[in-house]
């Protein structure tokens, strides 16, 4: 006996299917997955936007005003709104993922995943409230 076993006369004639380039349109879950992957581009965009703002602030009032004018131009607003939606998708899917990756135990009991997720949402709300308080408090 040598080489591969030939189970049948037609052994080499397996039919191999190709995945289409558009496989991710076939199922809702696949589409959501691709959108989530895409969302990282927008996360990066927010980082760049933040850095640009920081630089403008560092360069004094005139530059900062120019940055604000640029940020208010219609296309930047549109990009930012789209980016916000993607970042929200990113955050929510991330929060839902965390309890899957982490098994938290309290006094030997496994904390249910929903509670792990809920605690992150609570953290999110608290942080957001703090930021809003900073903004409104300062203004």
């Amino acid at each position: 006996m040598s080489g591969h076993p030939a189970y049948t006369e037609f052994h080499p004639r397996w039919y191999r299917r190709q995945m289409s380039t558009w496989w991710w349109l076939g199922k809702r879950a696949y589409l959501v997955f691709i959108l989530r992957e895409l969302s990282s581009v927008f996360v990066a965009w927010f980082v760049v936007f933040g850095l640009l703002m920081l630089r403008a602030v560092g360069q004094g009032d005139g530059q900062y005003q120019r940055f604000l004018d640029w940020a208010a131009s219609p296309w930047v607003v549109v990009v930012n709104v789209v980016a916000l939606l993607f970042v929200l998708l990113h955050a929510i899917t991330w929060f839902n993922l965390a309890p899957k990756a982490m098994v938290v135990r309290l006094r030997g009991q496994r904390v249910p995943g929903s509670l792990v997720a809920a605690s992150q949402y609570a953290g999110w709300v608290v942080l957001s409230a703090f930021v809003i308080w900073l903004l409104v408090g300062a203004g």
Binding site: E9, F10, R13, W14, Y15, R16, R17, M19, W23, W24, G26, K27, A29, Y30, F33, E37, L97, K100, A101, M102, V103, G108, R110
Partner: protein, 247 residues
């Protein structure tokens, strides 16, 4: 209610055709008939040449997986009435080569599985005279879910990563590695990690999550892989930060 339903079944007869074709069969719409019962009716009454796999008819053996209306399913657990009035599309599982009709070739998984040593690994076996390895209910609970896997391959069929890159170890193999890693009697997690830390192992997974959605046994392979990633990342970090002895 109509008393029959149409099955649109994928045929592939390598001796006479180079591509799969679709054949329609009308089968009785029995009240408790599964898709598998429909296929068996075809085989017994209409067309004995139709090939498909099955054995237990009760979701235990894992051999009857097929694609039903686009979804990977155990056909013994998918009921015709849920698809009425039909027609019902029955195709072989995706992502595997088709041998004939609805029969796919899963040798790839069978070859990958032993590489993660899905058995209890001991550095030193305890002599029988010392008795069995005891385990508390909590310790059992840690891995029991992953031990429910029946190797049905629905998760592989649902996984686009595996479809695009057949080198990927795949959901069930990683979940089964985790089943032994989390077993208090096992000491082989280091060796398994060496295999699974490769690109084709856990890091190949991009967390589409469909493996968990289609698993008929509640194994949650996606969760197992994400947990494993966390362990792997922690281990890597430790190996950078801690001196050898402390790990």
């Amino acid at each position: 209610m109509a008393d029959s339903i149409t099955l649109q079944v994928t045929r592939y007869r390598p001796e006479e055709e180079s591509e799969p074709t679709i054949q329609e069969y009308d089968v009785p719409l029995g009240r408790q008939w599964s898709v598998l019962d429909g296929l068996n009716y075809v085989k017994d009454q209409i067309d004995g040449t139709l090939s498909f796999r099955w054995s237990c008819r009760m979701g235990i053996c894992g051999s009857c997986g097929m694609t039903v209306n686009g979804e990977p399913k155990l056909t013994c657990g998918a009921f015709l009435t849920d698809y009425a009035p039909g027609p019902v599309r029955v195709e072989p599982l995706a992502n595997f080569p088709v041998i004939r009709d609805l029969v796919v070739e899963i040798g790839d998984f069978i070859r990958k599985l032993p590489s993660v040593q899905p058995w209890i690994v001991r550095e030193e076996e305890r002599p029988v005279s010392e008795g069995e390895y005891l385990q508390t209910p909590e310790e059992l609970d840690d891995y029991q879910q992953y031990s429910m896997c029946i190797n049905c391959m629905l998760c592989y069929a649902a996984c686009p990563v595996y479809g695009l890159d057949p080198e990927f170890m795949g959901p069930a193999a990683i979940a089964l590695a985790q089943r032994y890693n989390l077993d208090s009697r096992d000491e082989g997690s280091r060796e398994r990690l060496d295999v699974l830390i490769e690109h084709e192992g856990i890091w190949g997974c991009t967390f589409v999550g469909e493996c968990t959605a289609v698993c008929p046994k509640g194994v949650d392979p996606a969760g197992a892989i994400q947990r494993y990633k966390l362990t792997a990342a922690t281990e890597t970090l430790k190996s950078f930060l801690l001196p050898r002895g402390a790990r």
